[in-house]
Symmetry: C2
Subunit: 155 residues, 2 copies
DNA sequence: ACGGTTTGGACAACCACGTTGTCGATCCTA
DNA sequence: TAGGATCGACAACGTGGTTGTCCAAACCGT
């Protein structure tokens, strides 16, 4: 006879704890490697900027937030030196947001760290179980491309 | 030869998407059942209040935030009618925060909905895989009792 | 080519959630 | 009983959201 199932409310807590663990470890490592001031939301925003750059409105759409909110985040990333605003030669209304070399470096670093963190899970759980967790989650979430307006969503 | 592993950055995204899916479904159902104004952060806060009530400072410690932040959240929950402040008979400095019947009802409802949501995962994945996801996450997260200062943590 | 509609970005006002610092009142303890 | 710790309240602030307004530029149908 199997053990009783855990209560339903534990599942979201475990998922969040897993997410938070990874993000915290990422930023601890980023801090050591010269990026102590980036916050989780900045990483998502830079991901939305992308290698080719984007307008503030487009970034807002990718993040699932208003263009005004995206503009504010871009302001802060600009002040931190991770992105820059340049005039869009093809649209006089628009400013193109581009990652600076520092921004690109932080993205490259993040990808590398995430790879190592996943490898750590594989060490603890085995490759099969990690893949199983990933595929299970993929089948159970309705669609990819989730909005990442976490602070506003949660509170 | 097995398929290539997904990139490391996908794992946190999947965990977050799973968490968000559950929380969104919970609140959609709570809204239908008479609690349209509760936000995720309120649920966590009421959980911290607990059945026996607690002081604002204690709630802050349980949530991993300052007593001032906890006090503000209690203010909003009070205005919404989910908790009430009463004088603590054993400590004239302290106010005891207690769940109102409405607050208790929302907690009871949430537990019931989480149970059904987990059952939905079991339908899609099978009981074994859901248990495997849960146990995998338990082994990989450093400890239970995570702070839930999500908005401030993320941004 | 023109005129109406859509779009981009700036600005303002506002809200929610977090922080630190201060303060008086109360409690605990040496 | 004196001193230190803790409670709640208040203030000021930072950050991440929202809506609404505005102008200029782009787009599109006639």
């Amino acid at each position: 006879m199997p053990d009783a199932d855990p209560p339903g409310w534990e599942l979201p807590l475990l998922l969040f704890a897993g997410f938070r663990t990874l993000i915290d470890q990422l930023h601890a490592e980023l801090a050591v490697r010269g990026h102590p001031d980036v916050r989780p939301v900045h990483g998502f925003a830079m991901q939305a900027v992308g290698i080719h750059g984007a307008s503030a409105s487009e970034i807002g759409r990718r993040l699932g937030v208003s263009k005004q909110a995206a503009g504010k985040t871009v302001d802060r990333l600009t002040a931190m030196g991770y992105v820059e605003r340049v005039d869009d030669p093809r649209d006089a209304r628009s400013k193109l947001i581009r990652l600076t070399p520092r921004g690109l470096e932080s993205l490259r670093l993040s990808a590398e760290i995430f790879e190592r963190l996943r490898a750590g899970w594989v060490e603890q759980l085995g490759a099969d179980r990690v893949r199983l967790v990933e595929s299970s989650l993929r089948t159970v979430i309705p669609a990819v491309g989730y909005p990442v307006d976490v602070p506003g969503w949660f509170g």
